[in-house]
């Protein structure tokens, strides 16, 4: 087998290109550098493919392009495959007109598009919200349609299996907050006030918020991915054609389960956060656990605990509904799952914090 090579013989009236060896995709780049320098005007082109060993469609296209440049051309080859190949390319190329690239859109177009997308997204979310509302009305009037088994399963998935991570996170938050405040309080000799501080901040704000953020990352993303994958494999379509309403079968059980789960988890977070505080107070400030709990009982009103727990179902509703909504928005491709999962986690954490701010203002105004 000879090595791939191109010999060019140019005389005033004719131009001969003699190809040797394999003439494929991989050798074209080299040849095109050689032929680009040639002048094809008023020349009769002779393409000699006698010594070519392999000849693919890319090579045929290359030869076809050269022949189009020249005024007249002849092809020298005994191999019928080469001729067939060239004919195939010629027939196809005559049908091909390269599409014009789309024009670049202006900055304003992109901005308008984003606003439009956002409005459409918002409209779709409202539609989802409406459907959830109707499904919950349906649940209230048809007790036997409630999917108790699915709800129990989801409570186990999102509460029981999350207990350890919630316990550990809130314990660490309790330790960190106590340690930092202990350092400041020591300066003023106001050691015992650490109890007031920890009690209120953990019960009222930190435990609900930390729990909600961990659950948004854990269950919210799981909801999006599960439902998104079901959408891609057409499971949701199959359910609908069989008359199983996805809202009663998939959406409501998850929302209700998370609304049950989150208050339980917040309670655990309260206990573990305060436990972390007690530990640091004892080690760092020398406050015994007995003294800590006595003071806790005196100064921390029970309303702080109730307010913290009350936030749970609201946060849970936001996390579950955003997660599921994003799952339903997944389109028929794999990229879409990743995109929507990211969006679901970011949006639900944001929504939780906004909701917390509203609660904070509302409860303070109400004098609680």
């Amino acid at each position: 087998m000879s090595t791939p090579n191109l010999q060019i013989n140019q005389t005033p009236e004719k131009l001969e290109l003699h190809f040797f060896g394999a003439f494929t995709l991989h050798t074209i780049a080299k040849y095109s550098a050689q032929t680009d320098r040639l002048n094809f005007k008023r020349q009769s082109l002779i393409v000699n493919l006698e010594n070519v060993t392999t000849f693919d469609t890319a090579a045929a296209l290359f030869i076809h392009n050269l022949q189009m440049k020249a005024d007249s051309s002849t092809l020298v080859s005994q191999n019928p495959k080469v001729h067939e190949n060239l004919l195939l390319v010629k027939n196809q190329v005559s049908q091909v007109r390269l599409q014009q690239e789309e024009k670049r859109k202006s900055f304003l177009y992109h901005m308008g598009k984003r606003v439009e997308d956002f409005l459409i997204d918002f409209g779709l979310f409202m539609e989802f919200f409406g459907k959830v509302f109707f499904s919950s009305l349906h649940y209230l009037t048809h007790f036997k349609d409630i999917r108790y088994k699915e709800i129990a399963f989801e409570v186990n998935e999102s509460a029981m299996k999350a207990l350890w991570i919630i316990a550990l996170t809130s314990f660490l938050i309790g330790v960190v907050v106590a340690y930092q405040s202990a350092y400041q309080l020591k300066l003023y000799g106001a050691n015992i006030f650490i109890v007031d501080m920890l009690g209120i901040s953990i019960l009222r704000e930190l435990a609900p918020l930390i729990t909600a953020i961990v659950i948004a990352g854990r269950s919210g993303s799981a909801f999006t991915a599960q439902i998104g994958a079901m959408k891609i494999t057409q499971e949701l379509d199959a359910m609908e054609t069989m008359g199983f309403d996805p809202y009663t079968f998939l959406v409501m059980p998850r929302i209700i389960a998370l609304m049950i789960a989150l208050p339980i988890l917040i309670f655990v977070a309260d206990v573990m956060g305060v436990f972390g505080g007690i530990l640091v107070s004892y080690i760092d400030l020398g406050i015994s656990s007995h003294l800590f709990l006595e003071r806790f009982n005196e100064v921390v009103a029970v309303k702080h605990f109730y307010i913290g727990i009350l936030k749970g179902p609201f946060f849970a509703f936001l996390i579950a509904s955003i997660g599921i909504f994003r799952g339903l928005q997944v389109k028929d491709n794999t990229q879409s799952i990743g995109f929507n999962t990211t969006k679901s986690v970011v949006a639900s954490i944001f929504a939780v914090i906004v909701c917390d701010a509203i609660f904070s203002i509302a409860f303070t105004t109400l004098g609680m």
């Binding site: 494929t24 995709l25 991989h26 074209i28 780049a29 095109s32 693919d56 469609t57 890319a58 296209l61 290359f62 392009n65 495959k81 067939e84 190949n85 195939l88 390319v89 196809q92 190329v93 049908q95 091909v96 007109r97 390269l98 599409q99 789309e102 389109k331 028929d332 491709n333 794999t334 990229q335 879409s336």
Partner: protein, 245 residues
């Protein structure tokens, strides 16, 4: 005729389930070779083993003079450029448009400039019977049949010597399916391709296959042309080719 694929005493095991045991077949250059058999007999598994997607327990598979059992990384990479594979549902990359899907191997493996790549892509698109207007669409925006055609165009991008097709006509309407068959025949005749396909489509089997292997009960029960089929006593052959016998 030159042997292009040779499978000898192949054994495949999944856990405790034996899929192939002592399977032998030979595919010659320029043949359109069909792998047939009842569902679950391991046709697709055999195809996956041939294209290095799956390991086998014992025996040997030789493709273009490469033994797949102890193939080096570089040899495998070279071999992968010599074949094209069409998956059952196209398996187009969903983040890329049809055009980009076809151009990807050309961009990665050759030094061609953008202009000639565009021309090659346009040629392959019209070769498989897609419209140029659809080239910028993404896989999620096109129908199942178009996905198959685009998948075939991608498999043909590098002008492979060998083409593996996994149920190329399933899910296509009868007209597109027959067009697909004639396209496969045309490709074999003009480009000299060797084609290995798994198929259940009787019409496509009658129209395109030169030779076929029927896998049943872990072995090849029949390997020859369609004409000699009546000599086989396999129950699968008796039911599947009822009208023909």
């Amino acid at each position: 005729m030159k042997k292009i694929i040779e499978v000898r005493d192949l054994k495949t095991v999944f856990g405790s389930r034996v899929v192939h045991d002592g399977l032998n077949l030979t595919i010659n250059e320029g043949e359109i070779y069909g792998l047939l058999g009842p569902s679950g007999c391991g046709k697709t598994t055999l195809l996956r083993e041939m294209v290095l997607l799956q390991e086998y327990a014992a025996g040997s598979i030789n493709i273009l003079d490469n033994n797949l059992k102890n193939i080096s990384y570089q040899e495998a990479q070279n071999l992968r450029q010599k074949w094209g594979v069409l998956f059952q549902s196209g398996a187009l990359f969903s983040s890329l448009s049809i055009k980009e899907n076809i151009a990807l191997p050309l961009k990665e493996y050759t030094q061609l400039n953008q202009k000639i790549i565009d021309e090659i892509v346009a040629l392959k698109i019209s070769l498989v019977g897609l419209k140029q207007e659809d080239a910028h669409l993404f896989p999620s925006q096109i129908s199942g049949g178009m996905k198959k055609k685009a998948g075939l165009a991608r498999a043909l991008a590098m002008d492979p010597q060998l083409l593996f097709l996994d149920e190329p006509t399933s899910g296509l309407d009868p007209i597109s399916a027959r067009e697909f068959d004639s396209l496969i025949l045309k490709l074999r005749d003009t480009l000299g391709l060797s084609i290995v396909m798994v198929s259940h489509d009787l019409q496509s089997i009658y129209d395109t296959l030169d030779k076929m292997a029927i896998i049943d009960n872990k072995k090849i029960v029949y390997e020859d042309t369609l004409q000699n089929l009546s000599s086989s006593e396999s129950p699968f052959v008796q039911t599947f080719f009822k009208e023909r016998l």
